[in-house]
């Protein structure tokens, strides 16, 4: 790893590995209470748990408040800011001007550990109050001079405008010079706008916050298998919610694997208590929750396999049966619980699938993901992907009147390795979510509700659809959008559909008549996973005065009034044409 972990933003000098603790030390030595604001995603929760364990090692007092969106963030900051000098933000706060938004006292410092990109330039260049906890390689910010002019020239320009009130002759004397200066300034501003536009155009994601904080723990020699497991879940979350491209995921997995082998080299297996957490690396089948389901159901609910076979069609079902038959897996076995499947079959499934794959046009990537398992006590192996899904679904569950923060804590319990009940509940919930998603995808396809608007595809979930409440949450909506897009592309005869992004809307609140809208990039750009909808949404909204709310930390998700839908979309179409 050649990047230093901590980036002091002062004059863009990166603190190198030897002095990397500087930022941390500031917090560590203050022995003052730290306010931690955590976004609602699995990665942030894992990062938060890593941070908690670091704080507890050094007995640093903290307060943790989960925040849903920007408004929530402002409120939480106002409520808890008294006496707080250090605020750490996890997976929130990077992509908008934090000082401008929160109007903090001058002695308050913000440490932002956020995977959202791009980082707002004001956060990058506010060396005094804002520190970014990010890898330098992931940050390609335009140079300072291109964005800001030093005070002097600004003063002058200020005088310039003032002087318009003064007697005319005086102005004339400087005319040429002033015109020249104004021209220069105009050019600079044009350039600045262009640079800024290029910089802000696409939103994307950097390294997982959990991974970063784990690496921090490692450099402080305070890493452990438990923290490593959290980092793994954080990274897995980025994969499952399509935040980072697969290549980046593999890269992270490689880094994690070296940690795993460092922590789990076991010649002395017998010595270690069964109650210790053990982590193993292995290729995992990319089938959702199959360990807690039947193989058949799992295949039908996994995006890649389901879309390759088009399981929602009769023909697809046939092909899937054929596939299973050819692999020598009896249907009765496939349709019963995986855990009670014939063990001679079970051990071999991965290899058989790999063998038969090419015949059915499946690629390695569709079926196999490098992943990790944890084992502890005499219980089943835990798979990182299952836990991540379980945690995410609990985070967005809405059972018996839970408020958002209730689910946050419940989801934290899922990550607590000793809490088996919470885990089982989570997996149950995740299964329900997946079922709702596939059902919705089927509705979209059967009713031909995925429509091409020219520059993009769009679809809306009808009000009154049974599982509509699942999709009023960003992460689940994200997975639905992705599933819909892949499924649509797999059936569409139009070759162009692979190059089209998708906008998906789900009813959010019937009484208020609001929609939750998400935009995801086209499949053809999957290597980059850059999303331009954040800016596009903003512009379309401001040009039409549509009543929208861009409150989420993910800019490509927003809320809007259902009534304004058509005028907003007209604007979006003309904008993207």
């Amino acid at each position: 790893m050649n990047m230093s972990l901590f980036l002091s933003v002062e004059n863009l000098v990166f603190i190198m590995a030897t002095t990397k603790r500087v930022v941390v030390k500031v917090i560590w030595n203050m022995k003052k209470r730290v306010l931690v604001l955590v976004a609602f995603d699995v990665d942030a929760m894992c990062a938060c748990k890593v941070l908690q364990s670091l704080f507890q090692c050094d007995q640093i007092l903290y307060t943790i408040v989960p925040v849903v969106g920007k408004e929530d963030l402002e409120r939480a900051y106002l409520e808890n800011s008294e006496g707080v000098k250090h605020v750490i933000m996890i997976n929130c706060g990077a992509n908008f001007d934090i000082v401008e938004t929160l109007q903090p006292l001058e002695n308050v410092k913000f440490y932002i550990c956020d995977s959202h990109r791009p980082v707002d330039i004001h956060n990058v260049y506010n060396a005094v109050q804002v520190k970014l906890l990010m890898k330098e390689t992931e940050l390609s910010v335009p140079e300072y001079d291109l964005l800001f002019r030093d005070e002097e020239s600004e003063d002058e320009s200020g005088n310039d405008s003032d002087s318009s009130d003064r007697p005319v002759p005086k102005k004339k004397r400087f005319d040429d010079e002033a015109i020249e200066r104004r021209r220069e300034r105009r050019l600079w501003e044009e350039n600045r706008n262009k640079v800024l536009f290029d910089y802000n155009q696409f939103s994307s994601f950097g390294s997982s916050a959990a991974l970063l904080l784990f690496e921090l723990a490692w450099k402080m020699s305070k890493d452990s298998n438990d923290l490593l497991w959290l980092a793994i879940i954080g990274v897995t979350d980025q994969l499952l919610h399509y935040k980072t491209p697969r290549e980046k995921y593999i890269e992270d997995v490689m880094a994690l694997q070296s940690h795993v082998s460092r922590h789990n080299h076991r010649d002395d297996v017998d010595i270690i208590s069964i109650n210790c957490l053990k982590i193993m690396y292995d290729d995992e089948m990319n089938l959702s929750l199959y360990r807690h389901w039947s193989l058949f159901d799992s295949i039908c609910h996994s995006i890649n396999m389901a879309c390759k076979f088009k399981v929602w069609t009769l023909k697809g079902q046939k092909r899937l049966h054929e596939f299973l038959a050819e692999m020598g897996l009896p249907l009765t076995q496939c349709k019963q619980k995986y855990s009670s499947m014939d063990s001679s079959l079970k051990g071999n499934i991965k290899n058989i699938i790999k063998e038969q794959m090419p015949k059915y046009g499946l690629e390695d990537e569709d079926v196999i993901v490098p992943s990790f398992f944890a084992q502890y006590g005499f219980r089943n192996k835990l798979c990182a992907m299952d836990i991540t899904l379980a945690c995410a679904s609990i985070l967005e569950s809405f059972e018996n009147g839970n408020t958002g923060t209730d689910s946050f804590l419940l989801a934290l319990d899922v990550l607590d390795r000793s809490n088996v009940n919470a885990k089982e509940k989570g997996i149950e919930m995740a299964r329900k979510q997946l079922q709702a998603i596939i059902k919705q995808v089927q509705i979209f396809l059967d009713m031909h509700q995925v429509i091409s608007a020219g520059p993009f595809l769009y679809a809306f979930i009808q009000e009154g659809t049974p599982d509509v409440k699942f999709f009023a949450h960003p992460q689940c909506l994200m997975r639905l959008a992705r599933f819909t897009l892949e499924a649509h592309c797999s059936v569409s005869r139009n070759k162009r559909s692979k190059t089209l992004p998708l906008v998906l809307g789900a009813p959010l609140d019937r009484e208020q008549g609001t929609l939750l809208v998400i935009g995801i990039p086209p499949l053809s750009l999957d290597e980059e996973r850059k999303n331009f909808f954040g800016k596009a949404f903003e512009q379309a909204a401001s040009s039409t005065n549509a009543r929208t709310l861009h409150d989420k930390f993910d800019t490509f998700i927003m809320e809007m009034k259902t009534d304004d839908r058509s005028k907003f979309f007209d604007a979006l179409i003309s904008l993207l044409q």
Partner: protein
């Protein structure tokens, strides 16, 4: 049946064991006392009749007397055990009773609580010469200096020893000095998270 009502009082307490204190049953207590008065009057009548020469009343007097004793015993047990409960609450909630508990006490019990408070405070102040020792603190053996807690209700502001003010809002998590938040944990405002 004789002394039935007094037994009801005991049953009422028994049913609420481990839960909250039931309201002070003033009516029932008055009924028991009334029953005792009637029993006593009848006894006196019978006794004076016996003295006057009538016979065969003695066993009746004995039964009534036993019932009187039983009533007395039940009544005292009722009061005594309520006091025990109230004492327990002093140790749990501190010197100010929650209003919903207060509603369930009778006037005298509230007064008793106040006096007990004073008594306890005086004693605790006198321990070990200087300054005294708050015995209602340190109820559990300390494992760590700081504890991880979750806030279960909106409690509002809480001032720590070093003068910082923390807002205890539902579902926020904190890392606090154990000695500071022990009573909040006991009151159910915070939940101690143990991994």
């Amino acid at each position: 049946m004789l002394a039935e009502k007094a037994l009801d009082l005991i049953r009422e307490l028994e049913r609420s064991v481990g839960g909250s204190l039931p309201p002070y049953n003033e009516d029932r207590v008055r009924q028991v006392l009334e029953e005792m008065r009637v029993l006593c009057e009848q006894n006196q009548k019978d006794v004076s009749a016996t003295v006057a020469g009538e016979s065969g009343l003695f066993s009746g007097v004995q039964v009534r007397h036993a019932a009187l004793e039983r009533n007395k015993r039940c009544l005292l047990a009722y009061l005594y055990n309520r006091i025990e409960q109230i004492k327990k609450m002093r140790w749990e909630f501190g010197s100010v009773l929650p209003t919903e508990v207060k509603y369930n006490l009778c006037e005298q019990e509230v007064q008793w609580f106040g006096r007990y408070n004073k008594l306890l405070a005086n004693y605790m102040r006198s321990i070990g010469g200087c300054g005294g020792l708050d015995l209602t603190q340190d109820m559990k053996p300390p494992k760590t200096l700081y504890v991880e807690v979750r806030c279960l209700v909106d409690h509002g502001e809480f001032e720590t020893q070093d003068g910082n003010v923390i807002v205890l809002k539902k579902n926020s998590q904190h890392f606090l000095l154990r000695s500071e938040c022990e009573h909040l944990i006991r009151q159910g405002i915070l939940e101690h998270i143990v991994h």
